[in-house]
C-alpha cells in the first residue's frame, strides 16, 4: 500500500468536514412574533347567537341580557345600555323597560332583564361602563318582538258560556276539555276562560300550523251564532261561527317573512 500517510490525513480530515456539513441548527425554525402584545380588557354582551339573526320571541316575558368582561375587576362594574327599535332610539318606559347591569367584583358576568312593551326590532348594545379602561365592544343582541294576535269571541246571549283555546295541532272530534284535559300530543299556546259573552286573549302563534278550539262549556249545543274576530297588528279578520258543539274553528298558518317576523294566515274550519 503506497501513499499510506495521505490516507491517514484524509481519514482525519474527511470526518471533520462531514461533521461540519451535519450542522442541523436550522432544521426547524419556529415563527415568532416580533411585536409586543398589548393585552386589553373588554366588556361585551354575552350571547349564544352565532349569527346576526335576531332572537324571535315567542312571548313577551322579560329577556335576560348577560354582559361579560375578559378579566374580572376588583370592583363592581355597572354597564349601561343603548336600545333601538326599528333602527331608531327606543323610548324607555314606552317601548321597553331595562335597568343597568352590574358585574360583581371578581366576576366576569352580570345581567339585567329587558321587558318589551311594543313590537318591533330591538337592538341592544352597551353604551357605557363604570370602568373607564374597559374597551366597550360594539356587539349587540337583537330581539324580534313580533305582533301579538288577539282572538276575540263575541255572542249575544250571556246565558251561554264559550271558551277558546289555541293549540299547536288538532284533534278532530275532541270535546269537553274541562273534563278530558288538553288533547294528548298537543300544546296549549293560549286561552280565554271568561264567563261572559265576550272572550278574548292574545298570543304569538309559533311557526307552523296552529288551531283554535272552541269549547261549549255547558254543552248546550244550541247552535248559537258567535263572531270570532282576529286582530294581527291591525289586520282584522272576522269569522261567523255557529256553536253547535265543541270543535276546532280556525287554523293559523305561521311562516317567517323576509323581515324575520311571523306572517299569519287564518282559515276558518
Amino acid at each position: 500500500m503506497k501513499n499510506l500517510k495521505y490516507i491517514y490525513k484524509l481519514l482525519l480530515v474527511l470526518p471533520l468536514i462531514f461533521m461540519v456539513s451535519c450542522d442541523d441548527s436550522d432544521d426547524i425554525v419556529d415563527v415568532f412574533t416580533n411585536t409586543t402584545t398589548t393585552t386589553e380588557n373588554t366588556v361585551f354582551i354575552e350571547t349564544d347567537a352565532t349569527s346576526e339573526v335576531g332572537i324571535l320571541l315567542s312571548d313577551l316575558s322579560p329577556q335576560t341580557i348577560t354582559v361579560g368582561v375578559n378579566n374580572a375587576s376588583d370592583t363592581d362594574v355597572t354597564v349601561g345600555f343603548n336600545v333601538t327599535k326599528d333602527g331608531t332610539a327606543a323610548v324607555e318606559g314606552v317601548d321597553y323597560l331595562l335597568a343597568d347591569a352590574v358585574i360583581p367584583a371578581d366576576e366576569t358576568f352580570g345581567s339585567s332583564d329587558i321587558t318589551f312593551l311594543t313590537n318591533g326590532t330591538f337592538e341592544i348594545t352597551i353604551s357605557s361602563s363604570s370602568l373607564s379602561d374597559l374597551e366597550i365592544v360594539n356587539n349587540k343582541v337583537i330581539f324580534l318582538v313580533p305582533t301579538q294576535v288577539t282572538f276575540t269571541l263575541d255572542w249575544d246571549d250571556s246565558w251561554y258560556d264559550y271558551d277558546i283555546f289555541l293549540f299547536d295541532g288538532i284533534e278532530v272530534g275532541f270535546s269537553d276539555i274541562y273534563s278530558n284535559g288538553i288533547p294528548a300530543g298537543l300544546t296549549l299556546l293560549g286561552l280565554s276562560n271568561g264567563v261572559t259573552n265576550f272572550e278574548s286573549f292574545t298570543a304569538i302563534p309559533p311557526v307552523g300550523t296552529n288551531y283554535l278550539y272552541l269549547e261549549d262549556y255547558w254543552n248546550d249545543n244550541a247552535s248559537i251564532p258567535v263572531v270570532l274576530t282576529v286582530d294581527a297588528g291591525g289586520d282584522v279578520q272576522v269569522f261567523n261561527i255557529t256553536v253547535d258543539m265543541d270543535k276546532f274553528v280556525l287554523s293559523i298558518e305561521t311562516t317567517i317573512g323576509e323581515d324575520g317576523f311571523p306572517v299569519y294566515t287564518f282559515t276558518g274550519l
Partner: protein, 951 residues
C-alpha cells in the same frame, strides 16, 4: 435449525470432489493497450467470476482447462482456456458488444445478446464515477430503460423511500436480488397519496452505490424462476469484489437553481456531502476476498414552495393577541367579531360584508378561509403586519427531505478447497435519518390543530424517520460430482421509527409536549435456498438443468407510539374514551372537536400493534436447451406454498432463434404471481390526510379486521400475471452497434391496492367501528382490480473511435401503457376512484428516452446525457404535465493514476416540471405537483467528486 445447517454444510463439503485449482491472475487491456476496468470474467458453466480492477488486473481461482469468458460492454467477448497461472487479454472494441449476465438464466455463461429475455447491465462503478447520481434509485432512473423512480415530498415515510417501478407496474412488482439472492423489502407500506400508493417496495437506497459493481435488470416476468414479486422483472445487484485497493470518493454538490430556497428568488440548497470508501482484502491465496464499503452522506433539504398563499389568521387570532388566549376564547362570536372589526377599517369592511351577506359571526371571524384563488385575505394581511411577519415565514418545506445516512456493506468469498468450493457471504447495515416536514399548521385552521394557545403563529411539524436496514447472507457453493450446488441463507430486516418533531398534541393545549415517539414498524425475512445445476455439453448443443428449493419466513411488526402521540385528551387531561361526555371533550373556538395525537402524524395506537408471521416453501425446475446453435429453448416451473393464502404454480417458456451470428429473435411467455405483503394484510392506522386541502382523520383498516369482514372484503390472496414478450437483438459489427427491441404485454389480475376512502353509512355496527378507530373514513387493502400493461423497449449501443479517443453512444427508450380494468366495488362504490386509477395509469411517464454519450480521450472522460421524460397526468385533477428533457454533463480528469476529479451537473439547464394549475397549488406551496413528477423538482444540481484510488 442451526445444527441442521451445520450438518448439511459438513455433508456438502465432505462430498465435494477434488480437482486442482490455482490462482489465475492477469491484466485486461483495450485495443489501445489501456487498462480496462470492470471487465466481467466468469468461468464458463459456473457462477464463479470476478471483475477487473481499475488497472485492468484480476485474479480468479480456476483450474487448467477451465474456460474464462471475458466480457465488457462495447467489446468483443473473449473465451480463453486456462493454461498456467497468468492470463493476459486484449479486448477488441466494437465487435460483439456483449456482456455475460448472471440473471435470467441458470446457465451462467450467457451474454446479454444471447438471452431469450431482455436484460440491461448497468456498470454502476463507471456511472458512479462520472455521473451526478449518488443513490441506486437516482442512478437507475436516469440510466435504465423502463425504470422510473419518483421522489416524493410531504408524504410521511415515503419521503425517504422513492417508489420505483419497472415497465409501468407497481413498486412491489419488481424482485430485487443481491448477488442473486432475494433481498428483503422495506417495512414501509406507502399509504399516502403518491405514486405506488398501497405498495411495499424494496429499499434500494439502503445499499451504498459504491459497493456495487453492476446492476442487471431483467425486463420480463420471471416468477417461475425466482418466485413472488418478479412480475415486471428482476433487479440483481452485483457487489464489488476488488481487493488490495482503496477507492475513496468525496462527493459534494448542491442545487444551484432559479427556484432554490425561495421559488421566485433562486439560490442554493440541497447541499450534499458524501464520502464513500471501498476496500478489499485477499482471503487466502486461492482468490478469496473480502470487500468492504462504507458510505456517509449528509443531504440537505430543498424547498420549492412559494410564499404561503393560504389564510394564516382569523379574527380569533387577532383577539388572542390583543386580549390573551383565554380571554379571547371566553368571548362569544358576536362580541369577538365586533371587537376585532373595530380595530381597523379593513377588518370593519370584512365584518360589514359578512353581516350584509347574512353570514354567521363564526364565519366572519374565519372569513379569510373562504378566500378564492387570487382573492384577498384582509384578516391575515392585517395581522401579519401587526406581528411583523410575512407570508414567507409560513412556507412549508416542499422538496427533497433532509437525510443523513451511514451505510456499510460487505462482500466476501473464501475458497474452501481446490475444487471450487466457496464459502461466500455478504451483507450490510445502514442507518438513515430523514427529516421531512408536513403541512404548516396555520392558526387559521378552525379545528384548533394550529394550537395557538401554545404557539401563537402555528408551527411546521416535522417527521423524523429512522430507517435501519440490516442484512446478512451466507452460503456455500461448489461441485458435487458434476453438479453445481449452491446452498445459502439470506436474512434481512428493515425498520422505520418515527419521531414527530416541532409538533403538538392539540388536545393538550398549551401544556403539550413538542416531540413524540410515534411508533414504527419492522419487517424481517429469512430465505434459505438450495440451487443445483448442471450443464450437459453433449446434449443438444448444450443443455442446462437446474432445480432447487426455497424456504422463506417473514415477520411484520407494527409498534405503538407513546400515549400522547395518538391519544385525544379531554379538558381534565384524561384520555378520551367512548364514555367521555361530549361536554368534556376539547373543542376549538369554532366549536369543532380538536383532533388528538401528534399533529402531522398521529402515532400508532396499542390497538394497531401487529406481530404476524408467515412462511412459504418453493421448488423449481429450470431447463435451458440449445437445441441447435441457433435455437435456444428454455422452460421453468415453480411451485410455492404460503402459510396464509395457499399455493401457486407458475411456468415460463422462452426461446431465442439466431437468424445469423448478428441477429436473433426472442420470445417468452410466462405466468407469475406476487404474494400479498404482510404489511398489506395487517397494516392498520389512522393518519391525517389532506384531501382537497381539508385535513381528514382517515383509518386504514387491516384486511382481517372486523370492519373489513362487515364490508365483506375478502382476505388478500396472490396477484397473478401473464407475461408475453417478443423482440430481437441485432449486432452491426461494422459500425460497432448493438440493438435490442422488445415488446411486452403484462396482464395482472387481482392486484392488491388501497381502496378509496369509505364513510360509515347507516349501519350502526359499522358506525361504531368507525368511531372506535376515531376515523371519519376508512380504507383497506383489497384484491380489487386488474391491469393490462403493454409497451416496447428499445436499446441501441454504439461505440466508435473518434480522434484519439473512444466515443460511446447509448439510446435506451421505453414506451409503455398501463390500463386499469375490472375494478371491484364495496358498498356499491368502485374501490378505486379516478385519482387512484390516475396514480396507476398516468402518473408515471409512459415514454422515456435516454441518450448517453461518453467520450474518453487521454486523461479526460466526458459524459453528456439527455433523458426525455414523457408527459404525466396529475391524479388530483387529470392535468397533463408536459414532456421534458433533462441534460446531464460531466467531465473527469485523471490528475494521476490514483486521483481524478469529476465536475458536472444534473439537469444542467435547470428544467422543472410544468407548474400546477392556479388554484391547485395549495396556496403556492405545491407549485409543482406533489402527486407526480417525472424527475423531481430540485432543479440544477452541480457537483464535484474527487476519486482516490490507492494501492
Amino acid at each position: 435449525m442451526i445444527k441442521n445447517y451445520l450438518i448439511l454444510l459438513m455433508l456438502f463439503i465432505g462430498t465435494s470432489s477434488f480437482v486442482v485449482a490455482q490462482e489465475v491472475t492477469g491484466t485486461v487491456l483495450d485495443d489501445s493497450s489501456q487498462p480496462l476496468p470492470g471487465v466481467s470474467i466468469v468461468i464458463k458453466g459456473t457462477s464463479t467470476g470476478t471483475t477487473s480492477d481499475f488497472d485492468g488486473n484480476f485474479s480468479i481461482s480456476a483450474s487448467d482447462g477451465d474456460v474464462l469468458v471475458f466480457s465488457y460492454v462495447g467489446f468483443d467477448t473473449q473465451e480463453v482456456t486456462v493454461s498456467g497461472s497468468i492470463v493476459n487479454v486484449t479486448m477488441q472494441a466494437g465487435v460483439a458488444l456483449d456482456e455475460i449476465v448472471l440473471l435470467g438464466s441458470r446457465n451462467t455463461g450467457r451474454t446479454v445478446m444471447d438471452t431469450p429475455v431482455p436484460i440491461d447491465v448497468i456498470d454502476v462503478a463507471e456511472l458512479a464515477a462520472t455521473g451526478p447520481q449518488t443513490t441506486v434509485n437516482e442512478l437507475l432512473n436516469y440510466v435504465a430503460p423502463s425504470f422510473t423512480s419518483t421522489p416524493q415530498t410531504v408524504s410521511d415515510g415515503t419521503d425517504h423511500v422513492d417508489p420505483a417501478s419497472l415497465r409501468g407496474l407497481g413498486p412491489d412488482q419488481v424482485l430485487v436480488l443481491i448477488n442473486g439472492k432475494r433481498r428483503h423489502k422495506s417495512s414501509l407500506v406507502n399509504v399516502n397519496g403518491t405514486v405506488g400508493t398501497g405498495s411495499v417496495a424494496t429499499d434500494l437506497n439502503a445499499i451504498p452505490v459504491s459497493s456495487i459493481a453492476r446492476i442487471e435488470i431483467l425486463r420480463d416476468g420471471a416468477a417461475a424462476q425466482y418466485g413472488s414479486d418478479a412480475v415486471a422483472g428482476v433487479i440483481n445487484i452485483v457487489l464489488k469484489k476488488a481487493t488490495n485497493e482503496l477507492s475513496l470518493n468525496v462527493n459534494s454538490g448542491a442545487n444551484f437553481s432559479k427556484h432554490s430556497e425561495q421559488y421566485d428568488e433562486g439560490g442554493v440548497d440541497g447541499e450534499k456531502f458524501q464520502i464513500d470508501a471501498n476496500y478489499g482484502l485477499d482471503l487466502g491465496k486461492n482468490g478469496g476476498f473480502i470487500n468492504f464499503t462504507g458510505s456517509l452522506e449528509n443531504r440537505g433539504a430543498t424547498n420549492r414552495s412559494d410564499s404561503m398563499g393560504k389564510p394564516i389568521y382569523t379574527m380569533f387570532d387577532i383577539a388572542t393577541r390583543m386580549l390573551g388566549y383565554d380571554q379571547a376564547f371566553a368571548m362569544n362570536p358576536s362580541a369577538l367579531s365586533a371587537y376585532v372589526s373595530g380595530l381597523d377599517p379593513s377588518l370593519q369592511a370584512v365584518y360589514d360584508a359578512g353581516i350584509a351577506a347574512g353570514d354567521s359571526f363564526l364565519s366572519i371571524i374565519a372569513s379569510d378561509g373562504d378566500v378564492t384563488p387570487g382573492g384577498t385575505t384582509p384578516i391575515s394581511t392585517y395581522e401579519l403586519a401587526q406581528r411583523g411577519l410575512t407570508r414567507d415565514d409560513f412556507r412549508m418545506k416542499v422538496g427533497q427531505s433532509k437525510l443523513r445516512s451511514g451505510k456499510f456493506m460487505m462482500n466476501m468469498e473464501l475458497p474452501l478447497d481446490d475444487n471450487g468450493s466457496v464459502l461466500y457471504s455478504f451483507g450490510g447495515i445502514s442507518s438513515r435519518e430523514g427529516l421531512a416536514a408536513g403541512f404548516f399548521r396555520r392558526p387559521a385552521y378552525t379545528d384548533g390543530r394550529g394550537t395557538t394557545s401554545a404557539l401563537a403563529n402555528g408551527f411546521l411539524p416535522h417527521i423524523s424517520s429512522r430507517v435501519t436496514d440490516k442484512s446478512f447472507a451466507a452460503g456455500i457453493k461448489g461441485m458435487i460430482g458434476d453438479w453445481n450446488v449452491d446452498f445459502s441463507n439470506t436474512y434481512g430486516t428493515n425498520s422505520f421509527d418515527f419521531t414527530i418533531k416541532n409538533t403538538v398534541n392539540a388536545t393538550l393545549g398549551a401544556s403539550t409536549a413538542r416531540e413524540f415517539e410515534a411508533g414504527g414498524f419492522s419487517f424481517g425475512q429469512n430465505t434459505t435456498n438450495l440451487d443445483v445445476s448442471k450443464f450437459f455439453e453433449d446434449t443438444f448443443e448444450g443443455f442446462n438443468v437446474a432445480f432447487g428449493a426455497e424456504y422463506r419466513s417473514e415477520n411484520y411488526q407494527l409498534l405503538a407510539g407513546e400515549e400522547a402521540s395518538w391519544a385525544s385528551y379531554d379538558i381534565n387531561g384524561e384520555v378520551v374514551t367512548q364514555t367521555t361526555p361530549d361536554a368534556d371533550k376539547v373543542y376549538s373556538y369554532f366549536g369543532r372537536l380538536v383532533p388528538g395525537g401528534s399533529q402531522v402524524f398521529p402515532g400508532y395506537r396499542p390497538s394497531n400493534e401487529v406481530d404476524q408471521n408467515r412462511n412459504s416453501y418453493a421448488g423449481y425446475i429450470d431447463l435451458e436447451a440449445d437445441l441447435s446453435e441457433a435455437f435456444l429453448l428454455t422452460a421453468a416451473f415453480r411451485y410455492e406454498n404460503y402459510s396464509d393464502f395457499g399455493d401457486t404454480f407458475n411456468w415460463k417458456i422462452a426461446t431465442r432463434i439466431k437468424a445469423s451470428d448478428n441477429f436473433a429473435i426472442r420470445a417468452a411467455a410466462s405466468t407469475g404471481f406476487r404474494a400479498p405483503d404482510l404489511h398489506q394484510i395487517y397494516f392498520n392506522a389512522t393518519s391525517t390526510l389532506f384531501i382537497d386541502g381539508i385535513p381528514n382523520e382517515v383509518g386504514t383498516f387491516g384486511n382481517t379486521s372486523r370492519l373489513a369482514q362487515l364490508l365483506k372484503i375478502p382476505g388478500l390472496k396472490e396477484e397473478t400475471s401473464q407475461n408475453f414478450s417478443l423482440g430481437f437483438t441485432a449486432k452491426l459489427p461494422d459500425v460497432g452497434m448493438k440493438i435490442t427491441v422488445d415488446g411486452y404485454i403484462v396482464n395482472v389480475d387481482d392486484r392488491v391496492g388501497q381502496t378509496r376512502n369509505y364513510e360509515p353509512g347507516s349501519d350502526p355496527e359499522v358506525i361504531q367501528i368507525f368511531a372506535d378507530a376515531s376515523a371519519g373514513k376508512a380504507k383497506f387493502f383489497a384484491n380489487g382490480y386488474d391491469t393490462k400493461s403493454s409497451g416496447i423497449d428499445i436499446v441501441i449501443d454504439h461505440k466508435t473511435g473518434l480522434g484519439k479517443g473512444t466515443l460511446n453512444n447509448s439510446i435506451a427508450a421505453t414506451f409503455s401503457k398501463t390500463e386499469v380494468e375490472n375494478v371491484k366495488s364495496i358498498l356499491g362504490e368502485p374501490i378505486l376512484d379516478d385519482r387512484a386509477i390516475g396514480f396507476i395509469e398516468s402518473a408515471m411517464p409512459r415514454a422515456k428516452i435516454n441518450l448517453t454519450n461518453t467520450y474518453k480521450v487521454d486523461k479526460w472522460n466526458f459524459m453528456l446525457r439527455n433523458v426525455y421524460f414523457g408527459a404525466v397526468n396529475d391524479p388530483d385533477n387529470g392535468d397533463e404535465y408536459g414532456a421534458k428533457i433533462i441534460t446531464d454533463l460531466s467531465a473527469t480528469y485523471g490528475f494521476a493514476d490514483n486521483l481524478s476529479l469529476t465536475v458536472g451537473a444534473n439537469n444542467l439547464l435547470d428544467v422543472y416540471p410544468d407548474e400546477v394549475r392556479v388554484g391547485g397549488t395549495g396556496g403556492r406551496q405545491f407549485v409543482f405537483s406533489r402527486r407526480t413528477s417525472q424527475f423531481g423538482f430540485n432543479g440544477r444540481y452541480v457537483f464535484g467528486r474527487l476519486t482516490f484510488t490507492l494501492k
